[in-house]
C-alpha cells in the first residue's frame, strides 16, 4: 500500500511570528517585542532555557495580555525550581488581582520547589500576603500542607488568615487538626463566622459532609 502525503508539512504549518533567532539572546529580545504574539512565542520557547526564569518573571510583572501571561506561566512551571518560585513570590504583592491569582495557581503546581519557602511566607508581616500563601497551600499537593494550615490557626492573629486556613482544612484537613479547630473560635469569640466555619470544617474532616 502506498502512503500518500496529502499536505506538505511546511506549507500547512501555522504562521509564526519569529523574527528573532531562537537562541536565548534572540528569544529574550523577542520577549520585549511590541506584538503580543511575538512575546507569546518567545515566552513559550524560553521554556527550554532554565536560566530564563528571571527574565520571564520580570516580563510577567509588566505583561497585560492574558495569552502572553499564560505562555509565561506555562514556561515557568515547566522550568520549575527555586529561581521560579523566588521570582513568582513577590508577585503575590501585586495590585493586579488577576496576576496574583495566576501566580497562586502556578505556585500550586510547584509543590516541592515552593515548600522550603512556605514558613517564611506564612510569617510575613502583611496579612494579605499570608492569606495568598494560605491560598497556595489549600491546593498544594504536599504532605505537609495540612500541618502548615494547622499551624496558621494556632498562631496567626489575623481572623481572615485563620478563616482562609480553616477553609483549606475543610478540604484537605486530617483528624489531627480537630483539636486546633475546636480551640480556634475562643480566640475570635465575638465572630459568628469563625464559629460557623470551624464547625463546618470539623464536620467535613469527620466525613459528615457540609
Amino acid at each position: 500500500m502506498t502512503l500518500i502525503k496529502k499536505h506538505d508539512a511546511t506549507g500547512d504549518a501555522p504562521r509564526e511570528f519569529r523574527h528573532q533567532s531562537r537562541d536565548r539572546a534572540g528569544l529574550l529580545c523577542q520577549l520585549e517585542a511590541d506584538a503580543p504574539e511575538q512575546r507569546r512565542w518567545a515566552a513559550l520557547d524560553l521554556a527550554a532555557f532554565s536560566d530564563a526564569a528571571d527574565a520571564l518573571c520580570d516580563r510577567l510583572e509588566q505583561e497585560t495580555q492574558t495569552p502572553v501571561r499564560e505562555a509565561i506561566l506555562t514556561s515557568l512551571i515547566q522550568i520549575g525550581g527555586n529561581p521560579v518560585v523566588c521570582g513568582l513570590m513577590p508577585l503575590l504583592r501585586s495590585e493586579d488581582a488577576a496576576l496574583r491569582n495566576q501566580v497562586i495557581e502556578a505556585l500550586q503546581q510547584l509543590p516541592e520547589a515552593v515548600s522550603p519557602y512556605i514558613e517564611r511566607m506564612l510569617a510575613d508581616d502583611d496579612a494579605d500576603y499570608r492569606i495568598f500563601a494560605i491560598n497556595v497551600l489549600a491546593n498544594l499537593r504536599h504532605p505537609q500542607a495540612p500541618a502548615w494550615l494547622q499551624d496558621v490557626i494556632e498562631r496567626d492573629d489575623n481572623i481572615n488568615a485563620c478563616a482562609a486556613a480553616v477553609d483549606g482544612l475543610a478540604e484537605i484537613g486530617t483528624p489531627e487538626a480537630i483539636p486546633a479547630l475546636t480551640a480556634l473560635p475562643e480566640r475570635f469569640a465575638d465572630d459568628p463566622f469563625m464559629q460557623f466555619c470551624t464547625q463546618t470544617a470539623i464536620r467535613r474532616i469527620q466525613g459528615h459532609g457540609a
Binding site: A97, A98, R100, E105, D128, A163, A164, F193, T200
Partner: protein, 124 residues
C-alpha cells in the same frame, strides 16, 4: 422571593452567607469562581451578586467589569467582599462596578441589611 448569587472560592464562606441569607427569606445560589459566577449570572436572573475579589480562573474585579458590560445583567446590584482592607481596594471595587464594599468578616446583620436594601426587600 429575592434571589442572590454568592461568588466566592471559599466553600465555608459561601455556606455561611447561604445560611444567613436563607434564614431571612432570600434564595441563594453559589459559584466557586468568577467564570462559574458569570455563567450563572448570564443564564439565571438574580436580584443581587455577592462577589469575592481573589478567586481562581476569574477574579472579582474582572467579573464585575464583565457584568457591567452585559446589557441584560448590568443593572443588578453587587456587593464586593474581601479580606483586603486598604482604601485602594474599596476604590478598585467601586471602579469595577460594585455598589458596596465590605471587608471580611462581614457581620450577619450588615449582610442582611444591605441585601434587603439593594434588593428592595424592605421590612419594617
Amino acid at each position: 422571593m429575592k434571589k442572590i448569587l454568592v461568588i466566592d472560592d471559599a466553600a465555608t464562606v459561601r455556606m455561611y452567607y447561604r445560611q444567613v441569607l436563607e434564614a431571612e427569606g432570600f434564595a441563594v445560589e453559589e459559584a466557586g469562581n468568577g467564570y462559574e459566577g458569570l455563567e450563572k449570572a448570564l443564564t439565571e436572573a438574580f436580584d443581587l451578586y455577592i462577589v469575592d475579589i481573589n478567586m481562581p480562573k476569574m477574579d472579582g474585579y474582572t467579573l464585575l467589569r464583565t457584568i457591567r458590560q452585559e446589557p441584560t445583567i448590568c443593572a443588578t446590584p453587587a456587593i464586593m467582599i474581601s479580606t483586603e482592607g486598604q482604601i485602594q481596594d474599596a476604590n478598585a471595587a467601586y471602579a469595577a462596578g460594585a455598589n458596596l464594599y465590605f471587608n471580611k468578616p462581614v457581620r450577619p446583620e450588615s449582610l442582611i441589611t444591605t441585601a434587603r436594601l439593594l434588593t428592595g426587600e424592605h421590612r419594617a
